[in-house]
Structures are given as structure tokens and as C-alpha cells.
Symmetry: C2
Subunit: 439 residues, 2 copies
């Protein structure tokens, strides 16, 4: 691979490289090699996969010098381009962060193996024994922004579930991701598995993304985009293969008339303010009119006192002069910041209708001591995660006990909510007979 | 709806009707109404759905006269167009066939309700109780050829799983399907559910299919094409929403060196000849070189004697003069007829490689008394259904005990193999807390 010829075209959307294979040829070849590797790792035993994951972690540690040197080059380029301090911080690796990356790969080795699980089994009257058994999905494409740790996390999760991964990193962490991927490939080879099972797209040319979205001639089974809304929207719009993603998390907390005020305080504050930049943070507070007289002002003033801007309807504006008016646009907005929209609703029905109209089917919570109201809310709200008396910030694969997640999905197909190794599997039917023929 | 203006354009791919709403406007409205109906039926109790299904069956019986009169009109038009006798037969309803359609709807009422099943549940160390619960998928589009029974079967299966259905019938059964759909709508209303939950596309204009493939502005969640290869290929190529389908069933029977010859005879004959026109019928026979001396000639001669043409490699040609030479194209061909391709392979490994190279990931069977070989075959063959010592013709939702199927899927996402009511559901996470906030 001629690195210079391909990586010089950083901002050329579809420019062909000056030398070496064209991006479509390069990507088609990558797809074929990933498919071949996928067939091999699909049949790897749990022990083989775990040995490979541990070897990958060891190799990342052994190549710390190379990885940190590559990272220094990426950082120099990013600084020269005037990237923000927050961006530089996310891109920066040091020994401690690299150890964290290696340890995360090892922890994925420690998860239960999701392949081969018998998901259902039944015997037919004719004696046929039918089992539905978990199998790998195949080849998983991950398109992510410049966060070096995702290279290792995503590759390790895909491998654990018996899949090959094709990883497309953001341009600014290309050298770092390549060094990490090289180290992982060495670990795979040491464990007797093909290095192509975790493949980094070996060019920064953006045409590579287009090739992935078109499905690599049938050699890509699903795409997981990890990044901002514009990346996810483009992938959802253009991909010719299934996508596991959420476009945004417009999460609600509904404080029902029978909510305990102290519990509502803790949950609302945590749901909004624990971390404002994650998809599970609350963006809208709905307060039941039946408890507004007692609950609304304490909740709104608490948020304002904690440094959160509140944009409210007239009832919310009336309880604190610091509240600014909410427009309809606010109900549709994922702030990812210390801002919340708030309104008073006429009971559970209007709360559900508001969430249906403005939510993003991600994560929504009801606070109430009324078990029947909670069950109705959790049945009627059509979101990946619905909670009763708990913070929306629990929408996370780690918090669900999945060990790690490759993302959170809001579609209704295959994977929904946190996507862990179980959701990176498909299934087949295994039928055992003794000579049965169909009448 | 102005029937004449829309249905006069039978062969105009994208012609706008002379009067009434345009097809895009019509279809967008249909999608919105289906989404609204889907929200209602998603929350219907098992009893409500079953009452509706029974009312639909009763209404089909009550409107037998109208339905058979509509069918007579469809038949007259089909005959005038010179359709084949086989086509006319599939299109024809009589009292007995209509009773079969009504009884099938009732039998779907008798299936276990797939919605609300707890698919997994776990408690986290912080006390959160997390359940993965089956939910309806939403709005399911079914595009099928002119078989009147599919209208009722597909609508009933979708409703059982809490979904709304948008049904697009082949042009030639339009009047019959409309009469059946009208009767089902009346049954739904009698049971207090919206008639829009089972909606027939109310135009024969082909532009309606294009609107469905584009997803009806987000109001269509999945498409199930039922019909010939060209229909399925178009849907797979153009759909902007997930598709449950199989393009073809190139199914194999591999007779392993340790196969019992009598069992192999029964299975091969049944797999090929029980019904040659279904997707689970075998199209290729693979015989292990290690048993070819004893097994090949009996199997090949048996097929030939049963009226099956055999296209074979040189080894197969050598055992019977009636065998004609197979070309590489034969290994890729779904005959759906009394024709089989046959070759000798060097053991299990070459059998698996042949299936990987030429199969369609549908259904494949090994005949052997060697349990280890069977396990290896079932692990390595990447098909929706893999069988040991049983006929490939068991690839069927009814044979699997699903009660009924809306189709068979060969994709790896969400549904694979026979698609019954369970596969017409999604899931959500229901989380119950007692005030937990995330640290």
C-alpha cells in the first residue's frame, strides 16, 4: 500500500490517488479479505478468540512506543490545523490511556462468548430436534471520529462475537489508529487467527466511506457509525446495508402526579447534569399538572441553581424568573449541554403523546409511586429503553452489564438499545433428524 | 377513492391518475394511517387481537358472495389476457378455498401471543431490574403476486404480532384481495380495532410499489416480498427499509461417506421430488468420493427413474447414461423443477466449500451416521437452516411449529429462516428502579 499517494488527498471527496490501487479497488479487496477472515473467526473456539484478544492487548502494550509516536504525529498535525483543545484532548494518548485501551481489550476477553448460545430449542411431533443457535453476523463496518480507543474497542467487540471488523477512523487519528490496528493484527497472528479480522481502512480518502456505504460488493453486513449527528445522518441516508445507530437522544423525564419529590429531584438532576454530552442525558422535563403546584418550582429552581438553563412553557416560566420561553423547536432539540426544555402536561396520556411527537425513541423515564402508571408508561412509550424511577443516564451497555457496547441503536430491527456482543450475532436453525422426510 | 381513475393505468409505470389524489399522495396518506393504526394495535391485548382475528374470519365467511363475485371478475380479466392454466388455478377461489382462508385466520388467533414475552431479564448490582421485552415491529409492507390467500394470511400474521400491514397484491387479484381486505376491515372494526391495521394498497398503479420501497416517509418499517425472483431482486435492490426475503433456495443434500444408503435414498428423493417448486427443494446433490462406489449409482438411478433429470460431473455421468453434463452454471441454478445437479466431492471440506461458493444460505442437509461430521457440517455451513439426516423440504414455518410463516429469510439481520409471528416482533428494554442515579 502506497501510503503517501492515498493520504495526500485528505480533502478530495472522490479523487483517485496518483499511484497505487484506486480507492474502489482497494476497498473491494479489503472487503474480500475481511469476508475470508470472517469465515475463519466465525468458527474459532471461545478459547482461540480469548487468546487472540489477550495477545492483542499484550501487543498493544508491547508497541506502546510506536503507538505513542504515531499519536504525537497526529497531534502535531491536529494542532497545526488549529483543532480545539477539547478535540486535542480526545485525540491524545499517554501511557495511562494506552494501558486503559489494552485493559479494555482484555476485559472483552472476559465476557461470556455470545456465539453458539442455544436461543430456543424444540422437538417436533415427527422427532425433529430444532435449535436456534447464535452465529456471528459476518463483517461489521465501524465508521468513527478521531478517538483512538474506538479502534481497539470496536475491533475487540466484533472479534469476540466471531465477526471481522472493517474500521474507518477519523482522518486526524489515522496514524494512531493504524499503529493500534497493526499491533492488534500482530496479536491475531500470534494466536493463529487472520490479521484481516480487524482491518483498518488503509487510506484517509473519503471515497472509502462511500465504498463502505455501498456494502463492499456484498462483503459488509452491517455498519455502525459512531460520531456526531451529521455522520450518523449521512450513514443512515446512504447506506445500502443495515445500520445500528441512533441519530440523537432526545430523552425525557416525566414527573408523574404521584412522584416522590425527593426522588424526582435526584433523578432529574442526574439525568440532566451528570454528563450533559452523552446521548442518554435528559433534554426535556415533563411535569404532571396534578403535582405542578408542589413539584414544579423545586425541580426548576434546582436545575437553574445547578447551572442548567431552563426553557419552559408559560407554567414553567411562571415559577422562576430565570426561565426563558421555549419554542416548539426546543422540544425537538438535543442540546448535549446544560440546557433543558420543560413543560407541564395533563397527565400520563399527554406525556406519552409529547414523547411520541418529539422524542427520538431512545430513552425515557417516569418518576412515580404509582406502579400501574409506570407500567402504562413503559408499555406505551415506544423507545429502546424505558425506565421507572431511574435516571436516563443508565442507557449504556456497561450499566446494562453488557461489559461494553459498540453503540446504542434506536431502530426496531435486530439490535435496539445498547449494542453489546450479543447484538453482534445472528442465528441459524440447526435441525437434527433420524431420516425424516416431509409427507 | 376513485377506483376507475387509478386502476385504468395498469401498465403505466409512473403515470399520474386522471383524477383523485396522485399515487405518492395516496401512499403517504396510507402510511400515516397505518402508523396510527399500528400504535393502537401495538397496545391491544392478546384477547382483543384474537377477537379481531376471529371476527375477521367470520366476516370473510359472511362476505363469501361478494368475495367470490370479485374473484369471478378477476378471473374473467385474467382469462381474457390469456394467463396460463396454472396461473388461473392459483387465482381461483371457490367456497372450499375461501373456507380454508377463513380457517387459517382463525388458526393464527390460536397461536401464542408473541408480544410482551420477556426475552431476557437480569438484576444489576445497583438493584435495577432490566427486562428485554418483545414489542411489535410497527408497520409491515407485504408485496405479493396474485394469490388471494396471502391477503388474509399476511394481514392476520402481522396483526397477531401487534403490527399494521400494508398489503400490495398482484394486479390480477386486485378485486379479490380488495374484497377480502374489506371483509377483514369490517372484522377489525367489530372488534374495536382500526380497519387501517390491515390496509390493501388501493390502486393497481405500479408507482405504489416505488412508494413502498422508499419507506412511505418513515411509516414503513420492513418489507416482505413474496413472489418470483425478479420481484424479490427488485425489492432487495431498491428498498430503503429492511427486507425479509430470500432471493432463491439453492439447497444441497450432502451424502457423507458414512451415510446409510437407504436413508440417503429416502432423503434425497423427498428433498428433490416431494414438491419441486418450493424454495426448500434440493437443487444439488453432493456425494462423498469415499462412498461414491456404493452410493452414487443407486441415488442417481433412483432420481432418473423417478422422472428427475440429472446433470452431473464426469463421475456422475459415468454411472448412468441418462445423466447429462453439468456446467458451472448448473451449480448456481435454482431449477424449481424435476432437475438436479450432482457431483462427487472430496469429503466434508469440499462439500462445505461447494455450498459456500454456490449456495444461497437457505437450507442444506447432510446425511451421515457420523455425529462429529454432522456437527461440523452444521457449524460450518452458513445457511439459515442446516439439517442432519432430514429432508431440506422441512424448511417451512409450519413444519417448524411456527403455525404459519410470512416467508423465509436468508439475510443475517433480525429474521432468518422461516419468518413467523415471533420474527415479526422487535423488543425494548424495560428498567425498573427505586430512585437509582448513575454515579
Amino acid at each position: 500500500m502506497s501510503g503517501t499517494s492515498l493520504t495526500d488527498n485528505l480533502n478530495a471527496a472522490h479523487a483517485a490517488p496518483v499511484e497505487g490501487p484506486s480507492v474502489p479497488v482497494l476497498m473491494a479487496d479489503l472487503g474480500r479479505r475481511a469476508r475470508k477472515a470472517a469465515r475463519r473467526v466465525a468458527l474459532a473456539s471461545p478459547e482461540e478468540k480469548n487468546a487472540a484478544l489477550n495477545a492483542m492487548a499484550a501487543s498493544i502494550r508491547a508497541h506502546a512506543g510506536t503507538i505513542l509516536a504515531a499519536n504525537a504525529e497526529d497531534l502535531a498535525e491536529a494542532r497545526a490545523k488549529g483543532q480545539t483543545p477539547a478535540f486535542i484532548d480526545r485525540l491524545t494518548l499517554d501511557s495511562e490511556r494506552l494501558e486503559g485501551i489494552a485493559a479494555a481489550v482484555e476485559s472483552i476477553a472476559g465476557l461470556p462468548d455470545p456465539v453458539g448460545r442455544v436461543l430456543a430449542s424444540f422437538e417436533r411431533p415427527n422427532g425433529l430436534l430444532i435449535e436456534r443457535v447464535a452465529t456471528p453476523l459476518g463483517v461489521i463496518g465501524v465508521i468513527f471520529e478521531s478517538r483512538p480507543n474506538v479502534t481497539a474497542d470496536a475491533g475487540a467487540l466484533c472479534l469476540k462475537a466471531g465477526n471481522a471488523a472493517i474500521l474507518r477512523t477519523g482522518s486526524e487519528s489515522f496514524r494512531t489508529s493504524q499503529a493500534i490496528a497493526d499491533a492488534m493484527g500482530e496479536g491475531l497472528r500470534q494466536a493463529g487467527l487472520p490479521a484481516d479480522a480487524v482491518a483498518l481502512v488503509p487510506t484517509r480518502d473519503r471515497a472509502a466511506v462511500g465504498a463502505m456505504l455501498s456494502g463492499l460488493e456484498g462483503n459488509l453486513d452491517v455498519i455502525v457509525p459512531r460520531g456526531g449527528k451529521s455522520l450518523v445522518a449521512r450513514v443512515q441516508e446512504e447506506a445500502r446495508v443495515p445500520v445500528f445507530a441512533h441519530l440523537e437522544g432526545i430523552c425525557h423525564v416525566f414527573v408523574h402526579e404521584r412522584a416522590d419529590l425527593d426522588m424526582a429531584r435526584r433523578i432529574v438532576l442526574n439525568a440532566k447534569m451528570r454528563r450533559t454530552g452523552i446521548c442518554g442525558s435528559a433534554e426535556t422535563l415533563l411535569v404532571d399538572r396534578a403535582c405542578a403546584a408542589t413539584h414544579l418550582k423545586p425541580l426548576v429552581s434546582m436545575l437553574l441553581d445547578a447551572g442548567c438553563a431552563v426553557r419552559g412553557d408559560e407554567a414553567v416560566q411562571a415559577v422562576d424568573p430565570r426561565v426563558t420561553p421555549a419554542t416548539e423547536e426546543d422540544w425537538r432539540t438535543e442540546y448535549l449541554d446544560a440546557i433543558i426544555s420543560a413543560r407541564v402536561v395533563d397527565g400520563l396520556e399527554e406525556a406519552v403523546a409529547h414523547i411520541e411527537a418529539f422524542g427520538s425513541h431512545h430513552t425515557d423515564s417516569i418518576v412515580t409511586d404509582d406502579a400501574a402508571a409506570a407500567e402504562r408508561f413503559m408499555a406505551e412509550v415506544d423507545s429502546a429503553v424505558v425506565l421507572h424511577n431511574a435516571s436516563t443516564q443508565f442507557a449504556d451497555g456497561g450499566e446494562f452489564g453488557f461489559g461494553a457496547e459498540i453503540g446504542i441503536a434506536t431502530g426496531r430491527m435486530h439490535a435496539r438499545g445498547p449494542v453489546g456482543v450479543e447484538q453482534l450475532t445472528s442465528f441459524k436453525y440447526r435441525v437434527r433428524g433420524s431420516g425424516q422426510t416431509r409427507p
